[in-house]
């Protein structure tokens, strides 16, 4: 460890900020685009169930996991995209969040007090889960973040493998492979339920209706977007960017590398725990197999496909991958099975295309890295970073990118 240079006094914000906050980092056309994008995004998210039922798509059950995975992707984006730390065990924190929720609300909880029916309020448990996941993030991150990035990747990979194993091997606490079931539902306070019942004609019933779940998760998503967007341009967000681009330079500018990294890591973990707690309650049954390595990779694919470091890009990437995974594979399967039964080919009729999803993701990862490492919708800064090396006037390009980034 290098000795930390004395901390400089925090700078007063150079530009005036209004309540609009993060849009203010952009100016002119860029800000207008951003505003419209956000407005359309929120509108689409809120109106989706209506459109869905109007068109009879039947996607409400599919939209919930997709939205939830976007929350995961946003959290991982803080770690990988903002701070440049490769975390391959993200699903472990997802599992920790889910099991915390189960411990606090399930009737099969190992905590006697909870088992006797005194389950913790769902919304409180959500935040506790996020906190527990963050604590694990710190515990894991503290020893490894002092080392170079590759070690973190491998340690998180190992952690991601170990957490499900430990859960599997301790059935007396976690019920092992059998899984924990049931898990508490969110309770809506009576008066709020009355209002909703007045407006929509029916009270909120989380147990049987996916729509309240959808809105709950969209609310979580919006909160996540708001937090990450605000963080990106905050003091610590700028420190992450500086650190990602050049650790030595960042350290010499007075950034405490370890605590800055640790904060990113813990924050990412808490997002994952948050999402995990909702996921547990939504599914009502959790088992260690749900949190294996492929989940971490799936989320990683989302942010790489969409564009590291760019919130809009991550959401778009998440939507795209979620759509491919949950909807398109079903269609292709149906299509292939249809051909199979039409021409009487038993293999085709029973083939499961989604079995090869890992293969497709693997190829996609390599192809993205080779062809468009900045993702489909990159942030200007990451794009410049990834292409600077191949161009002769790399330095100029990077400078230009920083300017663009400030402009936005």
């Amino acid at each position: 460890m290098k000795p930390n240079p004395p901390k400089p006094k925090p700078n007063p914000p150079a530009r005036g900020r209004s309540t609009l906050g993060w849009w203010y980092t952009a100016t002119g056309k860029a800000r207008e685009r951003k505003l419209w994008g956000t407005a359309i995004g929120i509108g689409a998210a809120l109106l989706f169930p209506l459109v869905n039922s109007a068109l009879g798509l039947g996607w409400e059950a599919k939209s919930i996991p997709i939205t939830l995975f976007i929350v995961l992707a946003l959290g991982l984006n803080v770690v990988v995209g903002f701070a440049g730390l490769l975390d391959l065990g993200y699903a472990a924190f997802f599992a920790i969040g889910a099991y915390t929720m189960a411990f606090l609300t399930s009737t099969v909880s190992p905590i006697g007090f909870v088992r006797e029916g005194n389950h913790v309020n769902f919304f409180l448990a959500m935040f506790v889960s996020a906190g527990v996941a963050a604590v694990f993030g710190v515990l894991l991150g503290a020893p490894t973040l002092r080392l170079r990035g590759d070690y973190l990747a491998i340690v998180t990979l190992g952690f991601g493998e170990i957490v499900p194993l430990v859960i599997k091997n301790t059935p007396e606490i976690t019920k092992g492979t059998q899984g924990m079931n049931p898990i508490g539902y969110p309770e809506v306070p009576g008066f709020a339920n009355d209002i909703v019942a007045q407006v929509t004609g029916a009270p909120i019933r989380f147990a049987i209706d996916p729509i309240p779940w959808y809105y709950l998760i969209v609310a979580v998503l919006m909160l996540s977007v708001l937090i990450t967007a605000r963080l990106r341009t905050s003091r610590v967000g700028r420190a992450w960017a500086a650190m990602r681009e050049d650790e030595v330079a960042a350290a010499s500018m007075g950034i405490n590398l370890v605590s800055t990294k640790l904060f990113a890591f813990a924050l990412g973990a808490s997002f994952s725990g948050f999402a995990g707690s909702v996921w547990a309650s939504y599914l009502q049954v959790i088992a260690p197999e749900q949190f294996d390595f492929s989940v971490s990779i799936f989320v990683l694919c989302m942010i790489i496909l969409g564009g590291l470091g760019n919130i809009g890009g991550v959401i778009a990437g998440g939507l795209l991958l979620g759509f491919v995974d949950r909807v398109l594979f079903d269609w292709i399967n149906g299509f292939v099975h249809g051909i199979g039964s039409a021409i009487g080919n038993e293999d085709l009729r029973l083939m499961d295309v989604s079995r090869s999803r890992q293969l497709i993701f693997g190829i996609a990862l390599v192809a993205m890295m080779l062809l468009r490492p900045e993702g489909l919708f990159p942030s200007a800064r990451v794009r410049a970073e990834l292409h600077a090396a191949e161009e002769d006037e790399g330095a100029v390009e990077q400078e230009r990118a920083v300017l663009v980034d400030i402009e936005r």
Partner: protein, 302 residues
């Protein structure tokens, strides 16, 4: 003894990690899966030669084993070079994360090749070596510690391979070039070394060792499955870190130490805790001695 013998495969795989890391500072995620594909190649070769079924009916078919090993070595070597060519070389100058992510992608592709090749169920590997326990045969009693013919077989293959590798690195022209590239690739290039060729050769060496390890693993443990590569890779990487990553002697030593520790975990805590033990070891090393047993200072390099 199981510990030391398992340590030998781990050491051979760990050498592949450490060679690649030493030269281009990339953790080759796909290496464990390469090893897994190697076991499948051995299995297929043996099946092709008609030794798929059961034990000792005809004695040990040494020639077939040799052929299977050569096939796996060539296959893994070439595949590793191909992967390097396609997925890592274009990213040589990209930021560190890019080749790492690319390697994860390659690893997924390998796993799925394995899945399509042999299916999701564990495959039985023919038990072709004689069952012969030196301790009980020579001294006439059975002890907990056994030294079987299989152990002898694995060790007598693995140790010469490691010595051979050490010789290649120390005494050949290519080995000298490898060391030069590992130290400073740009400078090596200026001195007229074809860096790309040297790196490709390193991947070839790593792959060949993984191929050899795969035959030993198959014959020793008599089974293989498409997910084998993940745990094997994790163990081997831990071994490489334990010995000091980038250090060839360290990786070999780390492999044996790790094999012993894994065997102890299995004996005293139960088989399901093996990976937990290995991983905890990795974290403990990283906390207390990140340079490993024989490593030199790499520290907090950006």
């Amino acid at each position: 003894m199981i510990g030391i013998t398992n340590g030998a495969f781990i050491a051979l795989i760990a050498l592949g990690y450490t060679l690649v890391y030493g030269i281009i500072e990339l953790i080759n995620f796909a290496h464990g899966d390469l090893f897994m594909l190697g076991t499948f190649v051995c299995l297929s070769t043996l099946t092709l030669l008609g030794f798929s079924t059961e034990v000792g009916t005809t004695g040990t078919p040494w020639f077939a084993l040799l052929l299977a090993m050569i096939a796996a070595m060539i296959f893994c070597g070439v595949l590793n070079v191909l992967a390097e060519r396609i997925a890592y070389r274009p990213l040589r100058r990209a930021p560190r994360l890019a080749p790492l992510i690319s390697a994860i992608g390659v690893s997924f592709v390998f796993v799925n090749i394995g899945l399509f090749w042999q299916g999701p169920t564990p495959q039985r590997f023919p038990d072709l070596l004689p069952q012969y326990d030196f301790v009980s045969q020579l001294f006439g009693f059975t002890t907990l510690i056994r030294f079987t013919f299989k152990d002898l077989f694995v060790l007598s293959l693995a140790i010469p391979l490691m010595l051979g590798l050490a010789w290649v690195i120390r005494s050949t022209r290519m080995g000298k070039a490898m060391r030069a590239v590992a130290q400073d690739s740009e400078m090596a290039q200026q001195m007229g070394i074809d860096v790309n060729r040297v790196i490709a050769f390193t991947f070839l060496l790593g792959g060949v060792l993984a191929g050899a390890a795969s035959l030993m693993y198959g014959l020793y443990n008599n089974n293989t499955v498409f997910t084998l590569g993940f745990t094997a890779g994790l163990k081997a990487f831990t071994a490489a870190v334990l010995g000091g990553i980038g250090n060839v002697n360290g990786a070999a030593l780390g492999g044996f130490v790790l094999g012993l520790l894994a065997a102890l975990t299995v004996t005293y805590a139960g088989g399901q805790w093996e990976n937990v033990g290995v991983f905890s070891l990795l974290v403990i090393i990283l906390v207390f001695k990140p340079t490993g047993l024989l490593g030199q200072e790499t520290g907090e390099k950006a």
